[in-house]
Symmetry: C2
Subunit: 202 residues, 2 copies
């Protein structure tokens, strides 16, 4: 098993997930800045041109961060990161997707369209980047309200939703295109999750 990775938030989500599971594998660095992910060789493995990508020993390739994590969850069910009961499974998925779509995707949209980081390969619209930058902080208010009554985002168990939020927050802090509000419950939660070896070491 080989993990194709780069210094990207999605690759980090898989790295953290693997560390939580206590599994490891060969790593292959992909130079996304230089366009290695859109080379013919890489597109043959992942026509979506995205990193991370997990290649199994028989050559089968699994793309998409959440598909890779679900594969690892099936192979290594403990510690559980996607929930156990039907309601917990749904709750984890609900928060995981809210973080991805209402926060992480907006931060990414702001970053790509404002900085033009990938302008060699995509059309950037700065005005749209600013719209994304305005939307992203609003989602954090929702997460802060949820964390007022819950230790972790999806309840009393650390889950993949927490991994996505911690990684997305770190990315947002690094790229500095979104004004991040100072929110007490998120701050309390971040201190706890960021102290986990899986996050502090990646």
């Amino acid at each position: 098993m080989k993990l194709y990775e780069s210094p990207s938030p999605n690759a980090r989500r898989v790295q953290v997930f693997m560390a939580e599971k206590g599994v490891d594998c060969e790593r292959v660095a992909v130079d996304i800045r230089g366009g290695e992910n859109i080379s013919e060789e890489f597109l043959a493995k992942n026509p979506g041109g995205r990193v991370p990508l997990l290649e199994l020993d028989d050559g089968t390739c699994i793309a998409e961060t959440m598909a890779i994590c679900r594969y690892l969850e099936c192979l290594h069910p403990e510690p559980n990161l996607y929930g156990e009961t039907p309601l917990e499974v749904a709750t984890v998925e609900m928060w995981q997707r809210r973080v991805e779509m209402l926060f992480m995707a907006e931060v990414a949209g702001a970053f790509r369209n404002i900085t033009g980081f990938f302008k060699d390969r995509e059309t950037c619209v700065e005005e749209w980047g600013k719209v994304c930058a305005e939307k992203a902080p609003k989602a954090l208010q929702m997460f802060d309200a949820q964390l007022a009554d819950n230790e972790y985002l999806a309840g009393d168990r650390f889950s993949v939703a927490d991994i996505t939020l911690a990684v997305a927050l770190d990315f947002a802090r690094m790229v500095k295109v979104v004004d991040l509000p100072d929110l007490a419950n998120i701050n309390r939660w971040y201190e706890v999750v960021n102290a986990r070896p899986s996050l502090s070491a990646t």
Copy 2:
């Protein structure tokens, strides 16, 4: 159990999913055009302000289309729509997300930003809508290539990925903001899946 729904592609995904599972429940129509989904009463149920929303008998609310479907999958495992083996689970998730992010989200971005359908509540950037409209058809080429060698998107079993693609394609045809290429494998696949009672009746 109550399903809050509207004439939206995401609500239809849940309707199709429920029909496949042979389950039903009370339906509550939400007027998203009139802003009922962003009313105080609805936001108390779903702070994300989105439809569909599943309310359980004890008042617990599950938002996010895929969270609702996963809840139903846990309660009613047959027919399986999310895969069984670790590799199948990963493959379904991979294609499901590719359809959502590389096609459905781009169609939605084109629709909202070009037509200004929700301009009473969000900033629309027409130039961005045009970028989305250009990207969406490219994803269909990828799905067509996959369907050249596979009966369904994730292999030989009908899955939630097929539901998402069929619903997103119907939505794209209806809103007419994206030029849809005529692709033989997608056409063959569409004829098969669209004949399923779950899709033809919703």
